[in-house]
Amino acid sequence: MASSPLNVTVVAADHEVWSGEATMVVARTTEGEIGILPGHEPMLAILASGEVRVTQQGGGKVTANAEDGFLSVENDTVTIVARNAELVK
């Protein structure tokens, strides 16, 4: 399982912010930081406002600011949904 990458989508209320494949996603939930690797069990979590870090397959990193949202993991598909979300350059 670990070989297949995660499909990550970051969506804001009015547009899709980013989508692509990744090896790891780190986000901050209301309970604390959580790291998601391929093969993670299905999960729904409420996000605390803060950064979401996505490590891409080549090793590149994408960071997004997410505010007021949640995160869902299911069959290696990670969806980060936030009212306001934007990429940090």
Binding site: A13, D14, A45, I46
Partner: protein, 300 residues
């Protein structure tokens, strides 16, 4: 120039000016429809993700949440009407208003009291003219809705829904808006927003697929608490975007037929004025001929 002719020329000029305005509005609406449609499409991923998550929570847990449970007795129902700020959009606003009147009649016949929430100046004006009270209204920006307004409306509705019956809370919330089908068709739609029925988007698992058993963080109840208001906001935002796209489409169509009508008027009046000019000339000639005749017969 004869009086008749002057009147026709005036009418032609007036139709020409009207045509310039309606043509301009038609072009503006046409260019905005595309943008509005793109916004509807762009908000798709968000609402899909939320709907999926909400249905997942609702299906895989048996938690009763206040927003999803139906009350035993429903005394008061709210109707949220999405109209437009500006007129000149054909039957756009009157369609939703008519639809909501029907809904109100139905609800009243079931013994429910109806309260209104209005969006758009046209709806507010409709109610003001009939001296009917509305619970709350939002005006401005119906043609380019922003998410903050949707959040405001959502918060107000959820607060009212959570409130107890005796304190003026509502037990049921319906929304009425124009759904954008395509450029020529926009249909008024009535949807019950609360209590929630999460039906759409619940994907039947395939035969080999195992139902994902979600883990919730922090707790199922907390996740629902956080998710449901967001879901409602996204439904409202979607209704606002659909309504905006429909408004532009309806206005474009109305303005197109207005321009066509102006064209027809100009053509008709040009014919009439040509007629009037010709008969004026004919009359002048016969007057001259008659005068010359009279003179020549007098000198003889």
């Amino acid at each position: 120039m004869g009086a008749q002719l002057r009147v026709y020329r005036q009418k032609i000029r007036s139709a020409q000016t009207t045509k310039k305005i309606t043509r301009a509005m038609e072009l503006i609406s046409a260019s905005r429809i595309t943008k509005a449609q793109q916004r509807v499409a762009a908000s798709g991923p968000y609402s899909r993700a939320i709907t999926r998550a909400v249905s997942a929570v609702a299906t895989f847990s048996n938690v009763d949440h206040i927003l999803t449970t139906e009350k035993e007795t429903i005394n008061r129902a709210a109707i949220v009407i999405f109209a437009s700020d500006r007129g000149l959009a054909g039957a756009f606003s009157s369609n939703v208003l008519k639809e909501s009147e029907q809904l109100a009649t139905l609800l009243r016949s079931q013994g429910k009291e109806v309260v209104y929430y209005l969006i758009g100046r046209k709806a507010v004006a409709y109610f003001a003219f009939r001296q009917r009270a509305a619970e709350q209204n939002w005006t401005g920006g119906t043609d380019q809705p922003v998410f903050d307004t949707a959040k405001e409306i959502g918060d107000a509705l959820v607060a009212k829904f959570v409130q107890d019956d005796s304190e003026g809370g509502v037990d049921e919330i319906h929304i009425v808006y124009n759904r954008f089908v395509n450029m020529v068709t926009q249909t008024p739609e009535v949807v019950r927003l609360l209590p929630l029925e999460v039906v759409e988007g619940v994907e039947e698992p395939g035969e080999h697929e195992v139902l994902p058993l979600y883990e919730f963080e922090p707790e199922v109840g907390d996740v629902l608490d956080g998710l449901l208001p967001v879901y409602i906001e996204s439904r409202i935002f979607n209704a606002m975007l659909q309504s905006a796209a429909s408004e532009h489409a309806a206005r474009q169509r109305a303005m197109k037929s207005a321009s066509d009508n102006a064209d027809k008027l100009i053509k008709d009046y040009t014919r009439l004025s040509n007629n009037a000019r010709q008969s004026e000339i004919t009359q002048q000639i016969s007057e001259i001929v008659g005068g010359a005749d009279a003179l020549s017969s007098a000198t003889k």
